[in-house]
């Protein structure tokens, strides 16, 4: 087992990892930029090193700075959290070449699943349904038109290296396909330095359902059930929950099994998430693998009672999973709300600043994962998430009542937050009876 781990991240996920390590008896080395100096969570690490100025490109994204801190901190492993370098296969490679374990999947699996076209190929090989589309990248416009004619419009143009909606276009006919293809390719080249694009059938108003996976280095792969993340805005998830409401049990099981098969096929280990879309007729299609821990992991922790961060560390240290698929039970309903320092009244503009008053919700079944406190200053340099409010109750109705109760208690002053939007979402009839899809939030609020 590791004696000392470097946490290559900041904010709530850094705190989450430090907490898990402390409970496992592992020492932690934190790194921080000048903007995060003085944050309380850094005091909870055993050691903390400043690695650069505020912009992430000069601190949290600088591989050599993090490796230097790992060396002077004398750690055996690095936990990357999510975002920043978490899905950077090169970083994983450098860590391991320095004899520092990267707490995440093998480099090859990261590379293959990080590329959407090769991920799709692996999924098809594993017998996992994929959205009908081109067989790999499309090399020119004419090929794209041929594919679109075969699968039917509307089609989605996607960047193979894409993420967060970048390099993505919907085309309803041949004209917009021809125009969109070039635009998407140029955008992808700019954003990811990879112009490769491919084409898929555009699934209208789908739900987003994802499956949490854990795999060890001894060939054991289990799923920890699904999460529905259909409440999103501009591809940013706002609310995540488990179980996915209104998902027929047989379908749920098939999706979970597909995720296990896909992970097995790819040689992936550690924690990961397989994302699917489900259309109105209950067809489901593989979309992509998130080769890291996710923001919404607490949802799964609450319904299964399994600490995913601890499992990541134990798996990376070479341990076997301490449970089989049959041991994993799903209990009750958990819902997570991301609370962001954004102003819903001003087009969700980020609202950095100092929290002048903070009253947190609490009580039975309530967890708030956050690094903030009264007097904390939200920096303008990083993402706007302040924390995650997660509730766990026997039923979805009770979880919603609890969330609404929490939102009534929750006071954040000094900065604008998405709490007012959250109140509207949790009171909306369509959310309550789950008549929603991934376009619901943008259409409604």
């Amino acid at each position: 087992m590791f004696q000392r781990i470097l946490v290559a991240n900041r904010g709530e996920i850094a705190l989450r990892i430090i907490r898990a390590c402390r409970e496992l008896g592992i020492e932690t080395v934190a790194v921080y930029s000048e903007a995060d100096r003085g944050a309380h969570y850094l005091e909870l690490a055993d050691e903390a090193w400043c690695i650069g100025p505020a912009p992430a490109s000069e601190s949290y994204l600088l591989i050599n700075r993090i490796i230097s801190a790992a060396e002077i901190g004398n750690v055996q492993a690095v936990h990357p959290g999510y975002g920043f370098l978490a899905e950077n296969a090169h970083f994983a490679e450098v860590c391991r070449s320095c004899n520092i374990e990267f707490i995440g999947p093998p480099v090859l699996a990261m590379q293959q699943l990080g590329d959407k076209v090769s991920a799709r190929a692996i999924a098809m090989k594993a017998g996992v349904p994929c959205v009908p589309g081109s067989d790999g990248l499309v090399s020119d416009v004419n090929e794209a038109v041929k594919v679109a004619d075969r699968i039917g419009y509307p089609v989605l143009i996607k960047a193979t290296a894409g993420g967060g909606g970048k390099g993505m276009r919907v085309a309803g006919n041949e004209i917009s396909l021809r125009a969109g293809l070039q635009a998407a390719s140029a955008e992808a080249e700019k954003a990811f330095k990879n112009a490769g694009v491919y084409i898929e059938k555009y699934v209208e108003r789908p739900r987003h359902v994802e499956v949490q996976i854990l795999a060890d280095n001894h060939g054991n792969v289990v799923h920890l059930f699904e999460r529905d993340c259909s409440m999103q805005r501009r591809h940013q998830k706002l609310i995540e929950e488990s179980p996915a409401p209104k998902l027929p049990e047989e379908l749920r099981q098939r999706i979970c099994e597909c995720a296990v098969n896909l992970v097995r096929e790819s040689g992936y280990t550690n924690a990961g998430t397989c994302e699917f879309i489900v259309d109105k007729d209950y067809n489901f299609y593989f979309i992509e693998v998130n080769a890291r821990i996710q923001v919404e992991h607490p949802v799964t922790e609450l319904v299964t009672g399994i600490d995913l961060i601890k499992q990541q560390i134990l798996v990376a240290a070479g341990e076997k999973l301490p449970f089989t698929q049959a041991d994993i039970r799903h209990t009750g309903c958990a819902i997570e709300l991301r609370v962001n320092a954004e102003d819903p009244e001003n087009n969700f503009r980020g609202s950095p600043g100092t929290i002048t008053k903070l009253r947190l919700p609490g009580g039975p079944g309530v967890r708030f994962d956050s690094h903030v406190y009264e007097g904390y200053t939200i920096s303008p340099y990083y993402d706007s998430m302040i924390g995650k409010l997660i509730v766990h109750k026997p039923t979805r109705d009770e979880a919603i009542q609890c969330m609404r109760r929490c939102l009534r208690e929750f006071v954040i002053e000094g900065i604008a937050t998405t709490l007012p939007l959250a109140k509207r979402m949790f009171s909306h009839a369509n959310f309550v009876d789950f008549s929603i899809d991934t376009t619901f939030v943008e259409r409604t609020f």
Partner: protein, 168 residues
């Protein structure tokens, strides 16, 4: 799955020698407050006038209560952060990267600079080793070295003051 619980019953009382060293460090680096704690022990030391507990809102990051640390070295370098109130008086040359500080090119060589050395912007003043690479660090400004703030072999963080100079 869980690490067995260990009992912690250290019976040593406070090590006054370590406290004295810590106080010297605090004085040297003009550190106004330090909090150290682990499961058994907690040190809290404050120098000079009491600081108000509320943090003023700055546009970039924090006005810092200096960092706590518990591991050896007893005081994390983060405790001597280059922040207004905690900076040594005068002009300092700060670490441009995180790594291990070396005052000389090799154990056999003389240090690049000593107190009193006159440096120019392109004078090599030390090396910082990071990822097995020894980076020559230039003074970036001219003046006379008046104090060397870290020791040979020390780990240093980004922005940590290494030398105090008298500009000129």
């Amino acid at each position: 799955m869980a690490k067995p619980v260990e009992t912690e019953e250290k019976s040593e009382s406070f090590d006054l020698d370590r406290i004295r060293k810590l106080l010297q460090l605090m004085e040297k680096f003009d550190v106004s407050e330090i909090n150290l704690q682990n499961d058994d022990e907690s040190w809290k030391i404050r120098r000079g006038p009491r600081v108000a507990s509320a943090q003023p809102a700055l546009s970039h990051g924090f006005a810092v209560p200096p960092m706590a640390a518990q591991a050896a070295p007893a005081v994390s370098p983060a405790a001597v952060a280059p922040v207004a109130s905690a900076v040594p008086a005068g002009v300092t040359i700060n670490a441009p990267t995180v790594g291990t500080f070396y005052s000389a090119a090799s154990p056999e060589d003389a240090p690049f600079v000593a107190v009193g050395t006159i440096v120019k912007a392109d004078t090599v003043i030390c090396m910082i080793e990071a990822m097995k690479v020894f980076n020559q660090i230039l003074a970036e400004k001219s003046g006379r070295i008046v104090e060397i703030l870290v020791a040979n072999g020390d780990a240093v963080g980004f922005g940590q003051p290494l030398f105090r100079i008298e500009p000129g």
